[in-house]
Symmetry: C2
Subunit: 369 residues, 2 copies
């Protein structure tokens, strides 16, 4: 039996959406809400959180501070989050008080790589072969079963390549799980893909789906460097990517924007790398190339508004401004394009400090979902 969802009245202009997390995604969600006349209240433990600078209200607090989380929820008409590692307990605390989306189900399947991959396969979708690893014995058995190079990843709390080690031998694999202090992990086959892509889609409270054209993505040191749309995906792959996103969003009874990271194999197959239950770095180009960006789309979904048309009106290329590159902001200010800087108080190596998007006339008709 499927869960019965309480239908809630939309958050009107003048209402407040609460956002757990105050990084650049929370900041851009807040700016998008502002465009619609919706206020935001940001909850974050960091007193220098970039999103605080642009929100109507903010609370500096920990996710396990029950009183503080409750007061925050009660000040809002609806609540969402900007990253997938919000503790499930925090969401459970808020759920009886205010509508909170994407819900507990989405978090359960995206906070844990093993649950996630098992869920994806249960939908008949493709992932790289994977094995659960928590001991040296698991490591040996899994590597033998894999029969080739792989990547050991912790099941929880990894991002931007953190908690990932490439392994080429059984000994590598044992060393890797040891370096993770035998934290529950997953050994995945190393995928020799042609290129990477992602699909960003929203699901509204009415079950409608709106998917953006999938960008082609390139990474450096496990951090997104560049997203380009249209990428090298064929029309068939574009449609397949949209179908994948719709299937996942439907199965999760999802409300909001999600991103699915894809490996495009040399034989043309799409393998799912991971699901992010949130707006995504590879969708930042939608700010300039679409009438309704991924950020506004997420706010619309959370607020119970109709989704906007995700069609793009231009080709786009987005590149991240990482670490020290942000010190050279004058160079970006002199280039023709849209500069975004995130208001972070400190430059750190590899840190996402901003991004820069350029548009170009459409080279082929954008896809319609």
């Amino acid at each position: 039996m499927s869960e019965v969802k309480r239908l809630t009245a939309p958050v009107p202009p003048g209402g407040t959406i609460g956002i757990l997390g105050g990084g650049q995604l929370g900041r851009m969600l807040s700016l998008a809400a502002a465009r619609l006349g919706i206020k935001t209240h940001i909850y974050c433990h960091d007193d220098k959180a970039p999103a605080f600078q642009v929100a109507d209200r903010h609370t500096c607090g920990e996710f396990d501070d029950r009183k503080s989380v409750e007061a925050f929820a009660e000040s809002c008409d609806a609540v969402t989050f900007e990253f997938e590692n919000v503790p499930a307990a925090t969401i459970e605390l808020i759920a009886p008080l205010r509508p909170v989306n994407p819900g507990a189900k989405a978090l359960r399947f995206t906070q844990d790589r093993l649950e996630e991959k098992t869920f994806i396969q249960s939908l008949g979708l493709n992932t790289a072969p994977f094995f659960s690893v928590a001991s040296d014995a698991d490591a040996r058995r899994s590597f033998a079963a894999l029969g080739g190079p792989g990547v050991l990843k912790t099941r929880r709390l990894g991002y931007d390549g953190k908690g990932q080690i490439k392994v080429k031998t059984v000994d590598d694999t044992v060393a890797a799980i040891t370096s993770f202090r035998h934290a529950p992990s997953v050994l995945e086959a190393f995928v020799d893909f042609a290129f990477e892509a992602s699909i960003i889609a929203a699901r509204g409270q009415d079950g409608s789906i709106a998917a953006y054209d999938p960008p082609e993505n390139s990474h450096e040191n496990h951090i997104l460097r560049r997203s380009v749309v249209p990428g090298r995906l064929s029309d068939g792959q574009v449609q397949e990517a949209k179908t994948i996103a719709g299937k996942i969003a439907g199965a999760l009874d999802y409300v909001g924007v999600l991103a699915v990271e894809l490996f495009v194999g040399r034989d043309g197959t799409l393998l799912i790398n991971e699901i992010a239950p949130r707006v995504h770095n590879s969708g930042h180009w939608t700010l300039e190339a679409c009438a309704v960006s991924q950020f506004e789309q997420h706010i619309r979904a959370i607020a119970g508004w109709p989704l906007g048309d995700p069609v793009r009106h231009a080709d786009a290329a987005m590149e991240n401004i990482l670490g020290d590159e942000a010190a050279d902001w004058r160079r970006f200010a002199n280039r023709h394009g849209a500069l975004h800087l995130y208001g972070k108080s400190e430059i750190r190596p590899g840190r996402k400090m901003g991004h820069f998007t350029t548009l170009a006339p459409l080279t082929k008709s954008p896809s319609r979902s």
Copy 2:
């Protein structure tokens, strides 16, 4: 001898720009600054000012509260304003403390219709014939000199048709100046124009000029209803409009964005209606149709950054959402385009509550200045 300007270091990302005034223009300036990683501090007497919701800091205070204005200025790296009726005394208070732009000269020539028109004519540019009126005798003499229908306007503090009365006879004119309690006014010839247009341009601290393509504007009840770009201006008129803006900005030693409202005569001549020393309602379409909007352009100028390229990448049509129309926000949310709602706490008849912009592919090459 021209005034020597102190060159100031640019406001870097992380710096703060102060904005006098907290309406929708201040709000959109604040959002544009945020995109560049620049914080804003809004100063406004209205404790429900729309810009407060999106700014890093705000001060609720009066313009003549010396202590409050000084504390505000000292918290900022540079100061600007969102509307032309800031008292000159407030700007004079701030000027010794922080760079404030556009400066006192721009305010002097735009706060007073008589000074403004005299200034425009001194540059060899066209205005409708006008006469200074402060008494019944002035009214009679001026109407006789005009020899046809006109509009009596108060010299100061008019906007959106407030402080304006159409006059067809001498008696109308005397009645009009009496209804203004003989406040210093200007009688202008009624212009039978083909259509209205505007030119929005920025001047940087280095004296560089960046002008947007001029939109064609239509008004209802003296309030802007719609701006469309490209409008019916010929290529020659587009260039002439840009020349006009550059001349005015140069003569005012201007820093920031200004708008010049134009009447396009049936014979093709461009008459200047008025100068707004600020971002302008008829430039809101630049948010979607240009890489750098009028709001970002103004922030760049105030912050001492290089101006962005004002070229547009699309045709655009912007319509205002006025008064009660905002109650029907669902209708706009369902249309394809960019919806902007200003977060005003109350709907009032004719009040600017938001706007809606649609883009279309370029129908002709955008002009390059």
